[in-house]
Every structure is written in C-alpha cells, then in structure tokens.
C-alpha cells in the first residue's frame, strides 16, 4: 500500500462570485508523478496555491506530508519545492546568482545538493554567468526547476511548467521529471497539454472546478466507452458539418488532420461510409483508433453536460 503524500478532502474555493473549486477530493501517493490536467480556468492554479499554502480554502481540509495547509503552513514551506506559473526568477541576476540565492534562502548550498540538480543544472551551467532574463524559455524553465529543487524538497509542485515553452524543451523537461522519481520525490504537475498526461503515473482531469476522473492514463483511456473512429476527407470543414448533422453521431472533434468520431453503438462503418458518399466527400478514410487522454477528457466533459 502506498503512503499518501497529499490528501485533499472536500476543498472548495471561490473568488467573489466565481467558484474556482467545487468540493474537490484527491489523494496523491508518495513518490508519484501526478498530473493535474485541465484547460485554462479549470481551477488548477487555485488548487496548487492551496497546497502551497498561498491560499486558504473556503471549506475542506488538505494536508501535505501530514501537515495541514492552513495550520502548519510553516512546515509545508520547508519541505516544498514550488515553481510558480510565471518563472519566479530574478531576471537581473545571473543563473548562478539565482541558484545561490534560493539555496541560501533554504539554508543550503549548491554543492550540498548538487547530485540532485546535476541532471538539470548541467544543461544551463555553461551559461551560469548569463543573466536569467537573457535565457531562452526552455533554459529559464530548467533554471526555475533547479531553483525549486535546490533544497531537496519532499514534494515538488509545478504550476504549468511547460506553458510557453517549445516542443523540444517540453519533452526534455518531462524526461527530467521522470528521472527525478529515482530520488523518491513526490511530484505534482499541472498542465493544459493533454499529451503530457500520458507521461504521468496518475492524472486527475479537472474542469470547471470539478475533478472528472482520477486514474492512471492507461486506465482512463482503457475505460473509454464506445468505438472511436478517425475520419478524414478532402474538405475537413464540410466533413465536420456533415458528421455533426449525422443522426447517429454522439460526438465529433477536430484533431489535426483528422476528425475523431464517436457513434452510438449500433451503427457500422458501412452506413457511415455510404452516408458520407451521398454528401459527395472524396478521398475518404475511416480507421478505428485507440482513444488518447484528450478524447477521454472531451468525452467526460460531454458526459457531464449530458447528465449533470
């Protein structure tokens, strides 16, 4: 049985008349790489700020490593590595000065925990005399992560660390996170990118302050009900309109060059093909595919709207 690192019980939080979090409960195990997945405005940052003791929940209880986020905020601040949504670096200080500063704030030195940050810091060490403001997005992100890790935290909380970073850097960043698991640090990452969910041990899908599902990425995609078809044709726009108008269609979403279509159980591909033929679509291709997290997310969202 895994030990629980973060325990969230019935947390709610409102700003004036906006309900950011509605009665959320969630457990994160120790040493887990946990993803908090959801679009902008879903409540990710609010939840993370409650866990980092920056906000007080309106109701509910949350603990991090057994410490209450309201009462024991001082303890939590000692054991947490936090990377805020905006990279909290001092732009006018050099890479090395930023690192040294955060190290001294936590009462440690770069040398002391060098083994932990080496994997990440070595990427930017050649530029250690450069000011943080002059770094590229990817390098800023690595520096911010190094700073968050420098005091060897028990839990690392990252708020949208990959937003605004190029695809290559994103990939590298996730590889680093996965390697950090060897140091048995619990990691909580929030992200709006669905494709990153598959790299987590477990994910929570969050939307409008409600958690739609908590599971391993495999289980979430495995539990997808219905058959998913990828449909493509010459005129994608017209195809989407026609599919939306098709009486057996449950949902249709655009994914790059394809349309992902879910139909009500009974219908076969043959009927669909003939329907689209009558609409005059050329170069038609229909394949059955395995759903990804985004399909599941959209399906869960749609399901919530159908039976709220």
């Amino acid at each position: 049985m895994n030990k629980i690192s973060v325990d969230i019980q019935n947390i709610s939080k409102s700003y004036k008349d906006v309900k950011a979090l509605k009665d959320i409960s969630l457990q994160i195990n120790q040493g887990e790489l946990f993803g908090l997945i959801g679009p902008d405005g879903a409540g990710k940052t609010s939840l993370i700020r409650i866990l980092t003791t920056l906000l007080i929940p309106d109701s509910g209880i949350a603990t991090v490593e057994g410490y209450d986020v309201v009462k024991d905020y001082k303890e939590i601040r000692k054991i947490t590595g936090y990377m805020a949504g905006r990279f909290s670096l001092y732009q006018d200080l050099t890479v090395e000065e930023n690192m040294n500063f955060y190290a001294t704030v936590f009462g440690t030195t770069i040398e002391e925990n060098y083994d932990l940050v080496k994997d990440i810091y070595s990427h930017i060490e050649p530029f250690k005399k450069r000011r943080a403001g002059k770094l590229s997005g990817g390098m800023k992100q690595k520096l911010a992560l190094s700073c968050a890790l420098i005091h060897r935290p028990d839990i690392l909380i990252l708020d949208e660390p990959t937003t605004g970073v190029d695809a290559v850097s994103r990939k590298e960043f996730w590889e680093m996170l996965m390697r950090l698991k060897d140091h048995s640090i619990t990691i909580l990452v929030s992200t709006p990118y669905m494709d990153e969910a598959e790299l987590c041990d477990r994910v929570a899908l969050i939307q409008d302050g409600i958690i739609l599902s908590v599971d391993t990425p495999g289980n979430i995609t495995g539990n997808y009900e219905g058959k998913l078809l990828a449909v493509r044709a010459e005129d994608l726009y017209q195809l989407k309109k026609d599919l939306a108008g098709y009486e057996h269609t449950l949902s249709v979403y655009l994914f790059g060059q394809n349309l992902h279509l879910t139909m009500m159980e009974k219908n076969s591909e043959k009927d669909l093909r003939s329907y689209l033929k009558t609409k005059g679509h050329g170069e038609l291709r229909i394949d059955q595919i395995n759903p990804n997290i985004e399909d599941c997310f959209l399906d869960l969202m749609a399901g919530k709207e159908r039976n709220p």
Partner: protein
C-alpha cells in the same frame, strides 16, 4: 544569518544593475541641491519676537507698541539681560529680538540719534530677512510721525544682526530641507518599489513558499537602502560643508544618529506603503503624493509653517520631515544638543514604531 547575508547581496545586485535605481539614488541628490539653491521668498505672519528694553521710556514703549500691534508679530515678553537673548533663540520659538540701547529716548531727544539693534534667527534665512526688513519699516514709519510733530531732524539707526547665519547664505536654509527630501525619497520610495516589484514579477510568490519569515524578507530588502541612504546623508553634510561652507555647530555624531533615525522612519513608511499597494506604479504614486509633496510643502522647508492656513498647520504635524528639519537646523546651525531636540526625536521614534508595527501586522504571509 547566512540567509540574511545572501538576501542583502542579492538586493545589492538588483540596485547596482538597474540604471534607473542608481540614477534616483545618486543623481537626484546632486540635482536637487542645485534646484533648491534658488531662494524662494514668502510672506510673514505671527512671528514670535521678544524685546530687550534697556531704556524703558515713553519712546521705546511707543515703538514697541507699534511693532507689536502690527499683524506680523506676536510679542513674547520683555527680556531682562543679554544672556536671555541667547537662551530664547536656542529654544527656537523666538525669531527676533529687538534691543533698545540704555537712555534711548534721552539720546534721541538730546543728540537727535539713537541706536536700536535687531537680532534675527537666520537659520531660516528667508524669514529672517523678511522679519528684519518689516521691523525696520515700522521703525522708519514711527520716525516720520515723530519728525512731523517735533519738527526736528532725528534718526534711529537700526543695527541688524543675523544669528546663526551671519552671511545669510541660502544654503543654510535649504540643505536641511534637501537632506530630508532626499532621504525620504531614497528610503521610502525605493523600498516601497523594491518590495512591490517582487510582488509584480511573481518572485514574492516563491519567497512566500520558503522558510523565510516576513520580517526576514523585509529587513533583507531594506538593509541595503539603510546603508545607501546613510551614505547619501553623509554626502549631503559633506557637500554642505565643502561647497556651501555650511558648518556643523553641534555634535556630528548626534546629527548622523538623527539622520539614521529619520531614514528608519522613511523606510518603515516605505514598507508600510508596500503592504497596501500591489504594483510598482501605485507604490510610486503613493510615495510621491503622501510623502514627497508634504515633505516639500508642509515641512517648513520652503514655506514657513506659521503662515499656512490652520488646517495645513495641523497636517504639517504628521509630516516626519518637519521634525527632522527642526532637528537638523538646531544641531547644524545653533549647535544645540539632545536637550533641545528630544521632543522632535521622540516624535520620530514613535512614528517609526507605529509604521513598523503596522507593516508587520499587515504583511501578507499568503497571496490574498
């Protein structure tokens, strides 16, 4: 302690790498000293005076009455000996002492000439100038009347002496004022901006999620500014001495200690502002509006507080610079010690405690 040192080093780096900060810190004092070199003139009202009448005859009483009944002066009583003159001036309330020579009336009647001495407190050069010329005018006026009645040629020769500032140099007046202004700007404005900057760029969020206590964050941010402001204060005193020939009559160490106290008041005000506002722009606006303008206008730096409408006089009581300027003038120009400025010093100490207390209470340990 290591944390604190790291914080201070970081703060110094911020300051030394930002051109605008450096300009405000070191460019401004020089510019202001030049600007305020121009003397601003103004009107007189309710100046406290005393009279040392060694003659006590009809004419001296008439002249005294004429001066006292003018709307410019408030009569604070007769003095009995020359020692009292010095004492009264050191107290600071009396701005002018009028001295009639012994046998004034007799001399005037018999020799057609008598001496009158006007001694003014010229640590405020402007006011002193005005006080003396107004008094002279009144005496001339009395002479004209006397001549008409007596028909004889008589004259009263006023001998004017400026106390504390014999050459009537304007610098004597504006150096303490500029000192107050610069220390206020550097300390209050810069600290309020530097703290709100961390809020704005989001680094405060990270600092909060760290074991640092609010007081550590604040003191760490403020320490470099104490050092730099103190350096500025020393520079201004030195400039006053070497460029304008302004002496420090009193104890230099007391003067510097009072500077340090005033810097602390300004810093605590800056911290207090930063706990109220969220953005650098707001911090700047607040500092300008509630600190700079009153420091210039209501501190007695340029316009004598006594001449202001009553409401503004009340407001001037909460302007820290007012007390600081009184203290600096007393120490630099009159050479007085703690015994004469303890009241003002105490006011500043209370102001500092008030703002620090409120800042610590208001400092947010969270984001809301």
């Amino acid at each position: 302690m290591k944390r604190f040192r790291g914080f201070v080093i970081k703060e110094f780096n911020h300051i030394l790498r930002d051109f605008r900060t450096l300009l405000i810190l070191f460019g401004l004092p020089a510019i202001q000293l030049l600007i305020f070199g121009y003397v601003v003139s103004n009107e007189l009202k309710d100046i406290h005076i005393a009279i040392f009448d060694q003659s006590r005859d009809r004419i001296t009483r008439d002249i005294a009455n004429k001066i006292i009944s003018s709307e410019y002066f408030i009569f604070d009583g007769y003095l009995d000996n020359t020692h009292e003159i010095d004492e009264k001036f050191r107290e600071g309330k009396i701005k002018q002492v009028i001295i009639f020579e012994p046998g004034f009336g007799e001399n005037l009647m018999r020799e057609k000439s008598a001496d009158i001495q006007l001694i003014a407190d010229a640590s405020d050069a402007n006011t002193a100038n005005l006080v003396v010329s107004y008094t002279s005018a009144i005496i001339q006026d009395y002479m004209m009347d006397l001549r008409k009645n007596a028909g004889a040629k008589m004259q009263i020769i006023p001998e004017i002496r400026m106390m504390y500032n014999e050459n009537m140099a304007g610098a004597y007046m504006f150096v303490p004022g500029v000192m107050a202004l610069i220390l206020m700007i550097v300390s209050a404005l810069m600290t309020s901006i530097t703290i709100t900057r961390e809020k704005e760029t989001g680094t405060m969020e990270t600092l909060l999620v760290s074991p640092l206590k609010p007081i550590q964050i604040v003191i760490g941010k403020v320490t470099p500014y104490i050092i730099l402001s103190f350096f500025n204060a020393v520079t201004i005193v030195a400039m006053g001495y070497f460029v304008f020939g302004l002496p420090v009559q009193g104890s230099l160490s007391l003067l510097l200690l009072e500077c340090l106290l005033f810097i602390s008041v300004a810093l605590s005000l800056g911290i207090f502002i930063s706990t109220i506002v969220e953005t650098q722009q707001m911090a700047m606006f607040f500092s300008m509006m509630i600190l700079m303008l009153p420091t210039i206008l209501l501190s007695g730096f340029i316009f004598p507080v006594e001449n202001m409408p009553e409401v503004l006089q009340w407001v001037s009581h909460i302007v820290p610079a007012k007390y600081f300027i009184i203290i600096v003038k007393s120490i630099m120009l009159k050479g007085t010690g703690m015994a004469f400025v303890w009241k003002e010093t105490l006011v500043l100490v209370f102001m500092m405690l008030f703002f620090i207390g409120n800042s610590v209470r208001r400092f947010k340990i969270r984001l809301e």
